[in-house]
Each structure stands twice: as structure tokens, then as C-alpha cells.
């Protein structure tokens, strides 16, 4: 069985994995990182989205062996101690979640979206989150949360750069 080394939320793991093992199953079943859920088996829903070397990826569509040598950040590794990431705070403030099942993936996808477009329009947010489905919220508050998260992140980066 292939041996891989992968860092998840700051912890380094050496694991022997079946070549067919999905990254999301490695995270959930083997490493106990159950914060990342699974919503489909066709790569459509985005619930499983994590950061793979700083880019968002659907962890149900990546094999664990492909993540060899990678740095994975899940929803569980996003906060710094007790301090939430601004996007987590924004989702809470804007009531952008109900059941919360889509939320880890939404937050990850939103953060990735802002990396490319730090000040997205409503339309850009809607297009940018097309790969993440939510059945509860009707998306309005998610769009608001991403706007709010963007503002907070921009303000934070202004503070650090000035």
C-alpha cells in the first residue's frame, strides 16, 4: 500500500492508504477530521471542499495519494485558537446557515473566491459559488456573508499592511 505524508490543519500524518481511498474518507474515517462532510458522489455539491496547498478542492474528487506532500486545511483548522476566521464570523452574523451541512464547503469556497477577487460583486459571488449547493438558505444570506467577510478581510489586511 502506498505511504503518504500529509499535513492536515497543521498536524503531519504518515499514512498507508489504499490507492483508491478518497481524501475525504482519509480525513473523516482515518484522521477523525469529521468537520468536512460529504453531500454527493458526483462532485456536484461542494460540501467536502477543503484547501489543498492554498487552493480550494473538493476532497471527494481527490485521492488521498494525490494529496501526498500537500498541506490540507479543513474547516476545523480555519480558526486561530478561539478567534474565528472573518468568513466564519460573517456566516454567523448574516445567518448564512441553517442546518450547516453545506457550511464548511461554502466557507472554504468563499475564501478561495476572495483570493482571486477580493471585492466581488453580488453576481461574481453567485457565479463563484456555483459549485456549492445549499438546500436551506436560498443563498441570499450566503451572498451577504461573503460580502461582509470580504470587507472584514480587506480591513484586516489594510491594518496589517499599514
Amino acid at each position: 500500500m502506498p505511504r503518504i505524508t500529509v499535513t492536515v490543519d497543521g498536524i503531519r500524518y504518515d499514512e498507508e492508504v489504499e490507492p483508491r481511498l478518497l481524501l475525504v474518507h482519509l480525513l473523516r474515517d482515518r484522521l477523525g477530521r469529521t468537520g468536512t462532510p460529504i453531500g454527493c458522489d458526483t462532485g456536484n455539491c461542494g460540501a467536502c471542499t477543503v484547501m489543498l496547498d492554498g487552493k480550494s478542492a473538493k476532497s471527494c474528487s481527490v485521492l488521498a495519494v494525490q494529496a501526498d506532500g500537500c498541506d490540507v486545511v479543513t474547516i476545523e483548522g480555519l480558526a486561530t485558537g478561539d478567534r474565528w476566521h472573518p468568513m466564519q464570523t460573517a456566516f454567523h452574523q448574516e445567518h448564512a446557515l441553517q442546518c450547516g451541512y453545506c457550511t464548511p464547503g461554502m466557507i472554504m469556497a468563499a475564501i478561495d473566491l476572495l483570493a482571486e477577487d477580493p471585492d466581488p460583486s453580488e453576481e461574481a459571488i453567485r457565479e463563484g459559488l456555483e459549485g456549492n449547493l445549499c438546500r436551506c438558505t436560498g443563498y441570499c444570506n450566503i451572498v451577504r456573508a461573503v460580502r461582509r467577510g470580504a470587507q472584514a478581510m480587506n480591513e484586516a489586511s489594510e491594518v496589517t499592511t499599514s
Partner: protein
Amino acid sequence: MTEVGRARRRKEDARLVTGRTRWTDNIQLPGMLYVAFLRSPMAHARIIRVDTGAAAAQPGVVAVFSGRDFADEQGSLPCAWPVTEDLVVPDHPPMAVSEVRYVGEAVACVVATDRYKAADALSAIEIDYEPLPAVLDMTEALTEASPRVHEAGNKAFTWRFAGGDIEAAFDGAPVVVERTYVQQRLIPSAMEPRAVVATPDGEGFTVYSATQIPHILRVMLAMTTGIPEHRLRVVAPDVGGGFGSKLQVTAEEVLTLLITRRLGRPVKWTESRSEGNLTVHHGRDQLQRVAVAAELDGRIRGVKVDLLADMGAYLMLVTPGVPLLGAFMYNGIYKMDAYDFACTGVFTTKMPTDAYRGAGRPEATYALERLIDELAAEVGLDPLELRRRNWIKHEEFPYTTIAGLTYDSGNYEAATDRAMTLFGYDKLRAEQADRRDRRDPVQLGIGTSTYTEMCGLAPSRVLGSLAYGAGGWEHAGVRMLPTGKVEVVTGSTAHGQGHATAWSQIVADALGVPFDDVAVLHGDTAVASRGMDTYGSRSLTVGGIAVLQACEKVKEKARQVAAHMMEASADDVEYTAGAFRVRGTGTARTIQEIALAVFAAHDLPDGFEPALDADATYDPANFSFPHGTHLCAIEVDTETGASRIRSYVAVDDVGKVVNPLIVEGQVHGGLAQGIAQALFEEAVYDSEGNLLTTTMTDYLLPSAADLPEFVTDRTETPATSNPLGVKGVGEAGTIASTPAVVNAIVDALRPYGVHDVRMPCTPERVWRALNGGAA
């Protein structure tokens, strides 16, 4: 400031935004095994031979079972709503033994040491089937010549209901409009797939399930399997949405429990999405023949409804009752002289249908609101003007409708006026006229929907009269902890609604404790032992009132103790501004002080039982009747058939609001699902009974890019039937929005002679409707 009415951020969010969640699939227990089900590839067939030998020999496989292995103990999945005395309730084994009746029905299963190995071994199971004819079309199914789904025939029941003299209403009516509408089959698609973990637990078993109904599930598992109820604990951990789809007692829940019992080890089953599309009960699927008789001035004389409702292959928990929940709603907010309703339930070889958000009421509201728009066109009136002429005026409440329900309160004028203003109704009508004049290839349609619904399910007595198997009460317990903190136990289980937040708000006001000092416990029959669970927009209107009533009991006890502590007569002690005060003095005691005194119990009034805790079980006297006016503007490209929602205004009246943030969220989500039925979603079976929409690639759930920003607002006409004045909001958006959208599309196309487009109104269907083909 009072807590009730405040836009509190939810206390549930902290664990959900940080991934510290407790989904059923997260659970890992020592020695746990994994189940995978083999499912029928045929819509209808006899099972001739099952050979599990090769599968059993595969690595990691612990056991392989077919239906025969459970034949003596699996019982029949329950139908709790025998709507008529002659209802045909077919035997429904959780795992098929001799015959399969829909694609996806479980026929065998593998239990293995991990989920991959369990799935691997499925392909080694050999099953020989003898094909039987599929039965797919309801109308054909009812003919003599049709093959049968069950021995007893394809008709499950016919249920009738009438008010007033329908013949008089239609005879000689100057205007009669008749239409047939198709409520396509939908897949509820909660984002969390179902999952079940069952484990031996001391003398009995614990079942964790992604369910909306842990209490009902416990009773039903006991009755189905014969395991005594007190040996079963059911837990609904975090549940990722339900929308009715998890209001069910499923084959997989029963079988996972039986496998655990057989093997004596914890067992987990998690469905894949494609498995879920096949086997989570579907929603809607009705053929609606409706007619309205009216005067020339648009006054409605009567409405006639004749439904065929597709049950699918079996009757599940409330399958036959779903269309009947609409039976009292085809008159909507309108006054009329007569009403006639008939519904025939039909068996087909498809996945059974059951409750999906709104359950019966969206179907009724759709047909009625579509029909009203057709009538408006027929008599040449603006659709809102026609509605105004017919609706119950605000000064006429309480009003007993032709369907026999008493609407306690409402103000349709206020909601409509507000919606028209927010929408810019007159301006959009002017733009529409202009585009029509210019023969603009992009036409503008304006859709209206003035809905009401009966929710807050339900008065137990009414449910009994409709032959439903259970009551409609809800339970709450309030426990005062020694330090003054509060635990609230609720029988109404949450799966995204925000119960913990809303209940905390109610308790904070009722007892004078801080919002953060309240913890809400639910979803575990060992903790919340009594409950009727969550569906039918009942949590707040029934469960929330139970919480309030339990608080009142706590307060009454606390008042006795407060009086004793302050050496006053209990009659002189009142609860104001968050504390118990001796009238006319500055002396006061808080509930926290009293809780500690009761805990110590050193000095209590004579005969006082040393506890403040109280339980309450509330059974509502009436349904509640939210209402509202939704307006939708759609641009339809007459050359391509593509449509785009330009604006959507929803003004809802859900009575008093405990948390406006949560209410708005419920409306948003409801709108998305209702719009999705109008424009995107349909479960499609091919001519052999194979489901074609098994994945999210084929079954089109809307993404953020497919939906507009919604404009929402509220009017507030308190319900008079409960002390909080609340009405419920879970289903309103879904109920109202589907007809608003389709009315808008048809409105855009009316100049082209189009008077209907079948849902979902895809560009292709719109284009065909415009070009004279079948819509």
C-alpha cells in the same frame, strides 16, 4: 429589551461554522461494521434466486443477507395514516423477499469491516429476476387492462370531501374555467444524506439516525421489530436538513437495527447521493383536474378538484395523507358557495411518495393560484383585483371557510398593498404593456400568489377525525439548575431551524434569565423522552407554546417560594421586569436566587415539593394560518424560451415573530425550493421505470447563480389561537412561490395564446408552448 422579537444570532452556529459537528456519519464505535445495500435494478420483478455465497467469501465481509434472512423478523414498514377504511395497505417488507416493485428497493446487503469492502462485495451477489410489467402512468394504472402493482389492484383509496352545493354553483355559471395541472415528482434533497448507526447498548439498542422524528421512529421501530420500546433509544444528532424527507421510518433504519441485533456489533450505513435519489421518498406527483365557476364580475361560485396522487409502490409513513393535507386548501383565502374535492391514490412501480416541504398544501395552492390567474384572464380582470373581490376581508375574521376550517386572523389587504408597493406593481405592468406593444422578443410576465396555509400540525382531535395514527401535541420540560441556569427539554427536534436560539429567547423573557444561560436539549429519546417531532411548521406554534407553558408553571412555583423568602403573601408577589416583586415595595427576588433556595430546600413553604422544574404538553385548539402575497417578475425570451427572474417580492404574515432573522431565513429557503419546482427540478423515470435523475448532475438543484436576490417583508397579524400569537413559517415560502413563478411565465406568454406551461418550465418547455407543441 425583550428577547422575543430580537434578531438574535443563532447559538447553534458556533459548532457548525467550526466543523465541530455531530453528523450521524461521524460516529465511529469500537468494532463497528459497515452495511451496503444491493438494490433492485428492475421496476417490477419476481425474485427467483439469490446467491450470496461468493460475496460472503470476499475479504473483510462479515455477513451477507437477503430478504429471506429477515423474513420472519423484519415486519412491514408502517403507514400511520390509513385515510379510508377500505385503504389498501400492501405488505412492505424492509428488504424485498419475493417481489420488487421499484428500482432501488433493497434486495440484499453486505456487512463488512469498512465501507469500501462492503461496497465491493455487492457485485458478487447473484440474483435472478423474472421481469414483471412496470406500471408508470397513473391514468393507465387505473384501467382494467393495466398490469397490477399489488394483487389488490392499483387503486389505494378514494377520499371525498365537499362543502356547499357544488352542482348549483356550476349549473348555469356564466364562467367556468377547467384546467389540468401536473405536479411533477420531486426529490427533497436534504444536503446531508441519510445515515444510520445502530449499536447494542446494555439491555437494548441505541439507534442514531439522520431523522426528523426520533420519537415517532422509536415507537415505530418497536412496533415493527417487536423490540420493546423501553429497550430502544433513538438519537437524532446534528441533522443536515430534512424538508419532510427525514419524516420517515425507513427500510434502512429497520434493517440496520436488525443487523446489529443479529451480529451483536455496532453497524453503520451511510447512503450515497445516487442511492438517496432512488430511495429517499419523493414528493408531490399529482395530476390535478380543477375547475372554477364564477360570475362575470369574477365572483367565485365554486371550486371542484379531482386528484390522482401517485403513491409509488407502497404506502410509507404518511403517504396517503399528503394529498389530504391539501384538501382543505383549494379554496385558499377566497369566499365561495361550494367546494368539492376528490382524491384517488394510485400505486405505480416507483419510489413511494411522502411529505416534502408543504406536503399537500403547495400542490393545492399551486392549482388554485394558477386557476385564479386563468379566471382573471377569462373575465378580463387584473389578477390582484380578482383576488381582492373574492378574498376574506380583514374585518371578517374569524372566518369559517367552505372547507370547514376557521381562520382565526389575517389581513390580506395589508400584505398585498405592501407587496405591490415594494414590487412597483403599476410600473412593471406599464413596462409589460410597453413590451407587448413593441413586440419585444423579451417579454415581461408578472406572477401573483396570495396564499394561505394551515400549519402548526395539529389539533390531536382533528388528526383523529382524519384517521391519522398519532396526536399533534408537543412536550417541553424546563429544569431550573441550582446556579440559576436553565435546561429546556423539547420534543420538537431541530435539523437546521434554530430551535435552541428561539426557545432560549422565549425562556429568557418568561423567566428573567439571560439568553446565554439557557441550554436546549432535544433529539435523544433518553433526554427528551416525549415528543411529536418536527414537520408541518409546528415547532414554534406547538412546541414553542409548550415551552412557554412549562415556564409559566416554573414561575408559579417560584412565586410561592419568593413570597416565602420575602415574608409576603403569594397574592402580593408579581413577576415584572424579570424578577418576583412584592407589589408596592422595592423587595424582589430573582429566579436565580429562588433556584438556589429551592436546591438547598432548607426553608421552603410548608408542603412545597423542592423543585421548580415543570413539564407541559400542549395540544393546539386550532391550526394556524400564515398568509402572504408574493409577486414575481420574469423576463421570458420568446426566441429561446429562457426565462430570468427579475424581481421577487414576498410579504408574509406569520403572526408574531420570535426571531426575525430566523423567519427571513426560512422564507428565503422556502422560496428557493418553490422556485426550483417551478423552473428546475423533476424526478424523471424512463419507460421501463428506471430513475434517470439519480445524481445532482441530472436532478437540477439550484445554485446561487440560478436564483435572484429576494425582497422580503412582513405584516404582523397575530394568531389569536395561541398565547405568543405565532403562526409558523417553515413551509410558507415553498407554498407561495411555485404558482407566483409559473403565473409570471404564463402571464408573459398570454399574448401568444399560451395558457399553461408544465413544470419545470425549462427553456425547452417554454419554447414548445410558444411554438404550439405540447408544453
